[in-house]
């Protein structure tokens, strides 16, 4: 495995370090990294936790492609070498660890919570929602914030101010929820938001959870355009 190392203060830019890792059929790339950390070089830093593809922390660039390392297997790459780099498009804090605070700020900016007007009903009954209404946004609620889509999107990589695929998909997740009363037009109808996307579509390809953020964005473009043409129509 060829692993990009970056030690702030020591390196001016990432350098590649090679390690010999046994090729075991059951091993994910993450198991390979753990082998390095546990047996060969304790100073390698990277994030991981659930190793079942749901916590979203182990995204890295594997042979040029953004992948979840816990769900990518060594055997996919034959005898190697496999090159592991941090996710593209983000500042690198150390080794394979990138700075994602920018994304968290973007996420907060789209109001990713249920917006209601008026009194909240008592805690004895739920809001009704049919399976069809659930289906309307369900897909967009599956995002694990792994940020592979950002790393795959050239628009984001060129311009870090772009609101980006996952944040817009999550805005749509609430926007299309039958219980929500906000359309998030003010934040989404922006040049750095949906209009920044040129529909490269790589975000959807990279997404391990089939969220299809590209679709979420294009749908909002139509919504926003219709809303602009017919100002009295809300959603």
């Amino acid at each position: 495995m060829e692993v990009a190392r970056y030690r702030p203060g020591e390196d001016d830019e990432p350098v590649v370090q090679g390690y010999d890792v046994p090729l075991k059929p059951d091993w994910a790339v993450l198991d390979g990294l753990n082998h390095i950390k546990d047996q060969l070089d304790g100073s390698l830093s990277y994030r991981w936790s659930c190793r079942m593809g749901v916590c979203g922390s182990c995204g890295m660039t594997v042979n040029g492609e953004p992948r979840l390392t816990c769900g990518t297997f060594l055997t996919e790459y034959g005898d190697g070498p496999i090159r592991i780099e941090p996710l593209k498009g983000f500042p690198v804090i150390r080794d394979l660890v990138v700075d994602i605070d920018g994304f968290l700020a973007k996420l907060s900016s789209v109001r990713p919570w249920l917006v209601r007007e008026g009194e909240e009903p008592p805690l004895t009954t739920e809001y009704a929602q049919t399976p069809e209404q659930l289906e309307a946004y369900k897909q967009y609620s599956m995002c694990i914030n792994c940020l592979l889509c950002y790393s795959a999107c050239p628009v984001y990589v060129l311009d870090p101010d772009f609101l980006g695929p996952a944040a817009i998909a999550l805005a749509q997740r609430y926007g299309l929820d039958s219980r929500d009363m906000d359309d998030r037009f003010d934040v989404l109808n922006q040049e750095d938001a949906v209009w920044g996307c040129t529909f490269v579509g790589e975000c959807t390809r990279a997404c391990p959870k089939h969220v299809d953020p590209a679709e979420a964005i294009q749908r909002y473009k139509l919504t926003a355009a219709l809303r602009s043409v017919l100002p009295w129509s809300r959603r």
């Binding site: 050239p154 628009v155 060129l158 311009d159 109808n189 922006q190 040049e191 209009w195 040129t198 473009k221 926003a224 355009a225 809303r227 602009s228 043409v229």
Partner: protein, 113 residues
């Protein structure tokens, strides 16, 4: 200001994309490739003139031309910004691109009417 324009530009772009997809390939195939190569004969000039004689057809052609040009302008704007990294000059690029489309549209209008 730009923010409020963006949705309209996108509508024009999308409309242009659809129109371009539906009508351009066959026209280019006929007039640009098959006829010049002699695979099919050029129709009589009179027939074509008659076709474009009707105001309705000419209006339709104008719409097609304008939309397609807008479509192209929009894409050229973004692609050039992405390829050349000149997004910071977006306003200028936009003026040039859409301006080109407007000029083209006016020219089309002159030709047709």
């Amino acid at each position: 200001m730009r923010r409020r324009l963006e949705p309209y530009l996108w509508l024009l772009f999308s409309g242009g994309g659809v129109v371009a997809a539906l009508v351009l390939p066959v026209l280019v195939l006929l007039f640009g490739v098959l006829m010049p190569l002699g695979v099919v004969d050029w129709p009589a000039a009179g027939h074509l003139s008659a076709l474009t004689g009707s105001v309705l057809v000419r209006l339709a052609l104008l719409v097609v031309a304008v939309l397609c040009l807008f479509h192209a302008a929009h894409r050229v704007r973004f692609t050039s910004e992405e390829l050349l990294g000149i997004a910071r000059y977006d306003v200028l690029v936009a003026v040039v691109c859409y301006g080109g489309a407007v000029v083209g549209g006016i020219a089309a209008g002159f030709i047709l009417f």
